[in-house]
Structures are given as C-alpha cells and as structure tokens.
Symmetry: C2
Subunit: 335 residues, 2 copies
C-alpha cells in the first residue's frame, strides 16, 4: 500500500528532475548529443519505454525513511540514474547488443563513435548533478557523496572488466563471479541506499547498514536473476526456458556445475545446446547441487538485506514500510 | 632558461604523482585493468614514450607564478592528465586509430570492449584525483574545481560530437569548426591554467584571465597545427607535405577553401588527391586567401594569449617567465 502510493508520488518527480537537469545544460551546436541522451533515457516519444528508476527511488525512500527531505536528496538520486544509463550505453556497445527496451540501442542508431561519446557526456552530466547536492545539502555532504560515487564508478568498471574477461575464460572461480556482480550490480544499489542516508544526515553506523542493505539487495536480485535464467517459468519471465543455458551465459548455477559436475562440464564443452536437450542439462545442474547452492546464496543475501532493514528501522513509517515492500517485490519475484 | 629548469624539476614530480595515485587504488581481482591503464600512460617499459604532460605542467606553472604551492595543485594537475588520457583512449576507438606513441592503441591490444571500459575507469580515477584537492586545499576549492572540471568534460564531449559529425558532413561553418576545437582542444587547456590560479587562491578576475590565456593558447596551437598540416616543412613536421590534404582532413584552411573557392571545392569533391597534385591544391588554398585567413586567426589567438599573460604577470618571476617561454615554444614552432 505504502509502496504504491510512494511510487505514484515519487517516480514522476524523479522523471521531471531528470529532464529538467538535462535541459538546464547548454548543448550549443551539439543539440544532437542532447537528443541522443534524451532518446536513450526513453523520452523521445510519449509513453516510450524506459527503466524502472529503481536506484533513485531507493535513494528517496531511504532518505524519507530517515526523516530526510526528498528535495535535498533529489540531485544525487538523479545523478545515480544518469550514471546507470551511462553504463547501459557503454554496456550495449561492449556486449554488441542491438536492442534495449524494444528500441535500437544508441550505437545501432548513431554509430559506435557517437555512442561511446554520448556515454561519456552522460557520465559528466551525472557528476554535475551529484555536485549540485552542494546546493540542497552542504559542501561536506556533496564531497562525501562524490567520493563514494566515484569509488562506485571505479567499482562498476572493475565488475565490467571481469564480466568481459569471463567471456573468453575457461575457469572462473565462484568468488570471482560474486566479485563481478558485486561491482557490476550491487555497488551502485548499495550507493543508492547509502546516499539516501547521507543526505538525511545520519551517522556512520546507519550509513554502513544502508550500504549493506542496498548491496545485499543487489546481490540477491542478481543471483535470483541467474536462478530464473535457468529454472524460471517461461510464462512468468517472458524468456524461453533455461535461456541462460541456451545462450551459454556463464551465470552462477552454470559456473557451479562446471566446477562440481564432470558430466555437466563434458556436455557443456562438447555438445550443442538446443531446446531438445536443455532440460537434461538443467537437471544435471540440480543433481550436482547447483540449484540448492544458488538458492542458498540468494537466501543468504536476502536475509542480510532484511536484517539490515530491521536494524535500520525498528519503528515503522510509510517510507520504511515501502522499502520493505519493494525489497519483497524485488526478491520474491518469479519473473 | 627558467623553462628548462622547471621542466626538469616538475615533469618527474608529475610522473611520480600520476603513478602513486593510480597505485593507491584497490583493483582487487581486476589487476589487468590496472595494467591496461599503466600501458596507456606509457609506463609498461622503462623509457616508453608518452605524452608531454603539458596540461598538468601548465597548471603547476600557473600556480607557482601566482605564489601557490606545487603540492596543493598537484592532485588537480594529475586529474587533468588522467582525463586527457581517458579522452585519448576513447578517441582512438572513435577514430579507429591503431597506433599511439609508436605502440598499438588500447583497443588494438585488448579489444574494443575492454578499452571502452578502461577509458571509463580512467575517467573515474580522474574524478577521484580531483576530489583529493579537498585534502591539499579546502572543500570550497575542491568543489569549485570539480564543477569547472565536469563542465569541461561535457565541453570535450560536445567538441568530440562535432568532430565525429564533421566526417560525414558536406557543409561545415567556420564558426562551428572553431566551436569544435574550442571544446576538443582549448577547453581542457583553459581549465588547466584556471586550476593553477584556483588552487593558488586568486580572485575571479585573475581566474578569467587564466582561463582566457589557456584557451587562447589551445586555440592558437590547434589552428597552427592545421596550418602546418598543409604548409609545414616535412623535414620539421616529420609528416609528408600537405598531409591533411592527402588524408582529406577537414581542417581550417580546407574548410575556408571549400567556402571561398569553387575551383578548390570542385577539385576536392571530384578528384583523387595524390602527392602529384597536392601542391596545386595547396596553392589554390593560398590563392583564395586560406593561408592568410588561418595565419590571421592563429595570430589573433596568439596575441590574446600573450596579452592575458602580460595582464596576469606585470612583475616577472621564474614561473611566469617559464610560462612565457613555454607559450612561445608552443606557438612559434615549425614542427
């Protein structure tokens, strides 16, 4: 209930602030660069698809739950969404992905050179938006936010480095894989929740708990994504059954299988994977304990996330109830 | 004299600080990402080639000339060099350039995906280094530096947008071209000189003059580069005569010729350009006034740079004498 109400209130505010800040910048003779960013953000058509703005929403909910004000947090929340979108522009180039949100990716539409550059522009814009916390909060908070933000950026590129390296790697440790998703997915979500507390002027202990909440949520979400990529119901996920096996994605259950089961490893290395034999392969993973392992890992991070929430918010308010609901929605999904 | 002495003193200090800051960051399981950046910076072999570190050197000279301390300015100076190198990594990708400083470019050596990502990592590192001005100066200066720095970054991407767009454009205005080099070359040099003054705690009027000095220097340097690309002595430039005509680079004299001379335009659009006819074409440019125009433009910016120097430094000291000498060396070159 709280979640729905706050989504209706805050998501349009986030969208408005995202647009306003971009419009406030002078693009001079480079209007097309503005249009490219606008297109990527999903604003070129009324009702065009875009991301769910989960990260800035989490920042605002955390700020609200800790008696901070939405307005003070907004420039940082918006910066996180710009940064996330910058990473998507470059990820799409690095992964050679032609489609995002049902539309051609930026590099498909404007070419590789312009897309790399538009990503860089959006990275600068994210920094500028984060800097404007100086106006809504104060100098010390703006600097602390920027420091953590840029360590997160570096962390993201380290995660992305590993992800790209995995493509051509035959032997990936589970711990290295968890590092990868830690950098690529969990770090920015951890920063989002941290930022909410920072702009609400909470102390170090609470900031640590907020970061632990966000990064555990990110880890649990990604590991569950890996689970659903093999055992998700196609009717719910909208993808074919065992899609990660068919696309040979080196996700957590598959890495576990490659380490623990010679049968799985032989099949993976020597056979063509097709819709006809994919069930056999998925069962091999269950037999060697991959499903249990992934469920346990997801469960551990889920528990960590909820535990941090409980410690942060012993007394209920609308915002922290919404945070709880959002966490449940994100982690108890079947899609 | 002052210049040589200060080069010998400061360039090794810049190099040391560049290395130390990079080494201070935790790359965890992504050591290769560290190696990629190290390779691009020119550190993988003793005596390997790298850039001249002109931008951080300018920052330090400006700081010294205004009674600032080198140590206080250093984190910002180093940040500028990282940022410059980040743009080179992405430029090499965008221009499809295989070689830089006599070595394979990053994308040639590690592939496109890893190179885009390593550029992003270096961008974050530049931000972190600029943030550490908070330790050598104070919060207000760090924030002001970061604000100007990120506006400069955005300006760089706008210049780069135009540069890429020009490749497929038939009709480029001279004023748009000047905007392009303003963003791509002059903005970061203007920021470098500005930063020197900012960290030396000078007032707004002097900051404006410093920025005017640096950006005029950058404009004059680039326009002279365009001049030398057609009329430079191959023995001095180390390139073939009229290299920009042979490679069909849309530089300032060529854009002027396309606007002012139908003969040149017809030749350019309809003929193969070869070492045999390139002299004819270079003379067409002289005949239509392109050489005069480019010399006048370069002269205007050169004069502006020296005028700003005179206004900034009515009384001589070692640092501002070195700045004067450096400006002369950069702008009165034949190579």
């Amino acid at each position: 209930m709280s979640l729905t109400v706050l989504q209706k209130q805050l998501l349009p505010e986030i969208e408005t602030h995202l647009k306003i800040f971009l419009q406030s910048l002078d693009f001079g003779q480079s209007q097309t660069l503005y249009e490219m960013i606008s297109y990527h953000m999903g604003w070129e058509d009324v009702g065009a698809n875009h991301g769910k703005r989960i990260r800035p929403f989490l920042s605002l909910l955390c700020a609200g739950a800790l008696n901070g004000t939405i307005q003070n947090t907004m420039p940082g929340a918006v910066a996180i969404e710009y940064l996330h979108n910058f990473t998507l522009i470059h990820d799409d180039i690095e992964d050679n992905s032609p489609i995002r949100h049902g539309k051609p990716t930026l590099w498909r539409k404007w070419g590789l050179a312009q897309a790399v550059n538009a990503g860089d522009a959006l990275f600068s814009i994210a920094q500028l938006s984060m800097l404007s916390l100086n106006e809504t909060c104060d100098e010390a908070i703006a600097l602390k936010a920027l420091e953590a933000f840029n360590h997160t950026c570096l962390n993201l590129t380290q995660g992305q480095y590993l992800d790209i390296a995995f493509e051509s790697s035959q032997d990936i440790d589970i711990s290295t894989y968890l590092d990868m998703i830690g950098g690529k997915t969990a770090a920015l979500i951890g920063f989002s929740t941290f930022l909410g507390g920072l702009t609400a002027h909470v102390g170090e202990r609470q900031l640590e708990l907020l970061e632990a909440f966000g990064s555990s949520l990110g880890m649990a979400f990604q590991i569950q994504d890996d689970y659903l990529g093999i055992w998700g119901d196609p009717q719910e996920t909208g993808k074919s059954a065992a899609t990660d096996l068919l696309t040979r994605k080196k996700s957590l259950p598959i890495l576990f299988g490659l380490k623990q089961s010679d049968d799985f490893k032989n099949f993976w290395n020597n056979e063509e994977i097709s819709p006809e034999n994919v069930d056999t392969l998925a069962h091999m993973l269950i037999a060697c304990g991959a499903q249990d392992f992934v469920q346990t890992k997801a469960g551990q991070f889920t528990e960590k996330a909820f535990k941090a929430l409980d410690q942060l918010f012993p007394v209920k308010n609308d915002y922290n109830i919404a945070l709880h609901e959002l966490t449940e929605t994100l982690l108890n999904r079947n899609y």
